[in-house]
Amino acid sequence: MDDVKELYIDSVEFSYVNNRPILTGAYLKCRTGDIIGLLGRNGCGKSTLMRIIFGTLKAQHSYILLNGKKIEKPYLTSKIGYLPQHSFLPTHERVSYLIWLLVKSATLRQRLLDDNRIQTLKDKKVYQLSGGELRYLEICLLIYQPTDFVLLDEPFTGLEPVYVQYITDLIIHFKDEKGFVISDHNYRNVLDIATQTILLQNGGCRQIQDKKELEFFYVPDGTFDMD
């Protein structure tokens, strides 16, 4: 495993103008093979942190290292993918065209087109897809890029269980090639696949060791008693 890539984020400080600080020294380390579950309450800064890591939001202070090299705008390196909460695909385009447009590598494109679920979608236009199909397509388009890290902001929100399972399978399939940071309010789905759990709280990142600790800081007491 000498080909392990690392994304390191430290000392992230961010506040919106004339507002209370959202992030005060957030820290995160992700390596290829990691699936980091980023949990936290509404408005605690999960999406903000992801956008700062991706480089589309400038923090008052941040220190980001990608494979040991300091970078200002990580997305320009093409080594990080980011799934925003909203859909980012143009609704009037055909799925097959978007795959051709966004997946440069012919090998990766063929691998994606060979996917059973994508085969059923490829002739449809984006506005004809269901919420689950659209989310699955978007995640596929990100995962089938030559990136080392993928940031997924609420990938499971509003999806039926079967699509949650498809997306989970997809992430696990690519786990050895990439590092994932997943934020979602459906914490059970995240915990099922996460190799590390980070709780974003009071502007900082707290590493969660077990479910008991998560109960103490995040979910109601007794949530995991039946597990």
């Binding site: 991706f54 589309t56 997305y75 320009l76 980011y82 925003p84 980012f88 143009p90 447009l101 966004l102």
Partner: protein
């Protein structure tokens, strides 16, 4: 490269239509060409028309900008690329029109 072409495809029609419209109101303002309308058109196409098109793209394409970011392309780079493409387009159009004018 595909995404740059996709961007141009989206923005070209809007820019072209706007520039024709604007140029129709100011055909006499600039006249470095033998055809004043073309002079106004080319100037607007590479400046005001393009800037208005960028604003339209920025407004209507707020969500789709992540397509570009995920391929490691900044919007600034896309806009600059579009600007130089527009210059080339206007130059090519100028050469064609000049040739037709000579005939």
């Amino acid at each position: 490269m595909r995404l740059y072409i996709y961007y141009l495809k989206n923005i070209f029609g809007v820019n072209f239509a706007l520039s024709i419209l604007f140029a129709a109101f100011v055909p006499e303002l600039v006249s470095y060409s033998k055809i004043p309308f073309f002079s106004a058109f080319s100037l607007i196409f590479t400046t005001v028309g393009y800037i208005v098109s960028i604003f339209a793209f920025d407004y209507f394409g707020k969500k789709t900008k992540y397509m570009y970011f995920n391929l490691g392309i900044s919007l600034f780079r896309v806009y600059i690329y579009g600007f130089f493409f527009n210059l080339l387009f206007v130059l090519a159009l100028y050469l064609v029109i000049e040739k037709l004018w000579m005939m």
